[in-house]
């Protein structure tokens, strides 16, 4: 275990909030087809309020801080917030579409010694990327910014959300990232809208297509281990907890609401009315989330995948029960290993598919591209 992983485990065991994801705005200059956010401003925290929250997070022991949105650069005070965060010695990661980053902004980010910057790129083809973001020329501007940031020596990572609209383009984006000399990550997770609207889930990549992703050694280097049939869970596995949400990590919205995770819309308090540390330590909702062990899960505790499944409690919550299964993760476990999950067996399924809405056609005609050598 690396030293950093050891400290992460220590924070988890102590229930210390080592990492926080803070969305500074939901406003955005793009209108991505899969986005789960409402982009209106319903009363974002002011500069002063966010700085006070950052002071409280530092005092509470938060080390890893992710600034995201919406688009962070839609806030005119974003650099002021970044400077404050760095003065407080946070390890800062920024998630952005980079459209508003020019040479000057890249240099400023470098000077602030941020840890890394993650940029959304949906395709290596401008027409596909722009059709997903609905912002003309966004591909060109984003890639230009990637070059500025890279040239500053910043650690840049391209995040490629995978959906039906860009299904086969991950090969091309991966190749583009290699050409640009930046990291690449692929994420097949499509999240329901924050207001509960599930229509965007029609963009989720069908499970049988995920199989191709999981079996791609360029994306998953440890094939044998990753796709191995699940091992029988041990007593220790059943005493385990699903993820760091509420244990050592949480999410704060631009309105000050605190949630266990970005993908877990269970309100636990608001930093405009309460101190962060009081919410973290005393919120009944936060305490409920962190009390749930694998053995408490209504269906998953009897599933052979329980020890290795990527089950997201937030997605399960959005399906109606934070102790229940997350169908998207059931699919991943099944297509990763070929073994049906307890949730599938309960529904009399030995194979998923067919019942999920597949109503949204690709936005532009996409032809599969060649696999880079």
């Amino acid at each position: 275990m690396s030293l950093m992983a050891e400290m992460g485990q220590k924070a988890f065991d102590l229930g210390a909030p080592i990492a926080v994801h803070l969305d500074v705005t939901y406003r955005c200059n793009e209108r991505c087809v899969h986005c789960y956010l409402d982009h209106d401003d319903h009363g974002e925290m002011t500069t002063t309020e966010i700085k006070r929250v950052l002071d409280e997070l530092a005092e509470a022991g938060v080390f890893f801080l992710t600034f995201s949105g919406g688009e962070v650069f839609m806030r005119r005070d974003f650099f002021e917030l970044l400077e404050h965060a760095r003065r407080l010695l946070f390890n800062v990661k920024v998630k952005t579409n980079a459209v508003m980053i020019g040479e000057a902004e890249a240099a400023k980010l470098r000077a602030l010694n941020i840890d890394s910057i993650q940029i959304s790129v949906y395709s290596h083809r401008a027409a596909v990327h722009d059709a997903i973001t609905k912002l003309p020329h966004s591909f060109e501007r984003t890639i230009k910014a990637v070059r500025f940031l890279r040239d500053q020596g910043l650690r840049v990572s391209i995040a490629n959300v995978l959906m039906t609209a860009n299904l086969h383009d991950h090969y091309g984006v991966q190749k583009l990232a290699a050409e640009l000399g930046v990291h690449y990550t692929l994420d097949p997770t499509i999240t329901p809208m924050m207001d509960g609207d599930m229509s965007v889930l029609a963009l989720r990549v069908p499970g049988e297509e995920l199989e191709e992703v999981f079996k791609n050694p360029a994306l998953v280097p440890n094939q044998e281990e990753f796709c191995a049939p699940p091992k029988s869970p041990t007593a220790e596995d059943l005493e385990g907890y699903p993820c760091s949400a509420g244990h050592s990590f949480c999410y704060i919205s631009p309105y000050g609401d605190v949630f266990p995770c970005v993908q877990f819309p269970l309100p636990t308090g608001n930093v405009r009315r309460q101190k962060f540390v009081d919410i973290w330590n005393h919120s009944p909702q936060m305490n409920e989330v962190r009390s749930i062990q694998a053995k408490d899960l209504s269906v998953c505790s009897s599933c052979s995948h329980v020890a290795s499944c990527s089950r997201c409690p937030g997605l399960a919550f959005m399906e109606g029960n934070m102790r229940g299964p997350s169908t998207a993760d059931c699919e991943k476990s099944f297509y990763r290993t070929g073994m049906p999950t307890a949730n599938m067996q309960r529904q009399g399924l030995s194979k998923l598919g067919g019942s999920r809405p597949r109503t949204m056609a690709p936005l532009v005609q996409i032809q599969p591209v060649g696999i880079p050598a």
Partner: protein, 100 residues
Amino acid sequence: MPETYIARSSAIAARLLAGEMMVMNSADSTFFTLNDVATAIWQAADGKTPLHEIVLNKVCEQFDIDPGQAQSDAEQFVTELSEHGILLVSDHPLISETAR
């Protein structure tokens, strides 16, 4: 013998977790944890206080360590962290680049 002054670099991120100081250098993502003695030195690295004073007032006094041994350990620790760009070292006072 000239004095040694130490100051924390502005390129770092740092936080105390249950008595252990986590320090990360953003330039190369090197990650360190400091024990309680090293943490005391690191926290006192204001660029103005000579290292031998830090050792006497923050290390020997608080941790009941022999001054000669403490000074030698502190010098080794300072050299190691400065090689990783986490501490700035000089024979004259420095302007600290970070808040405590």
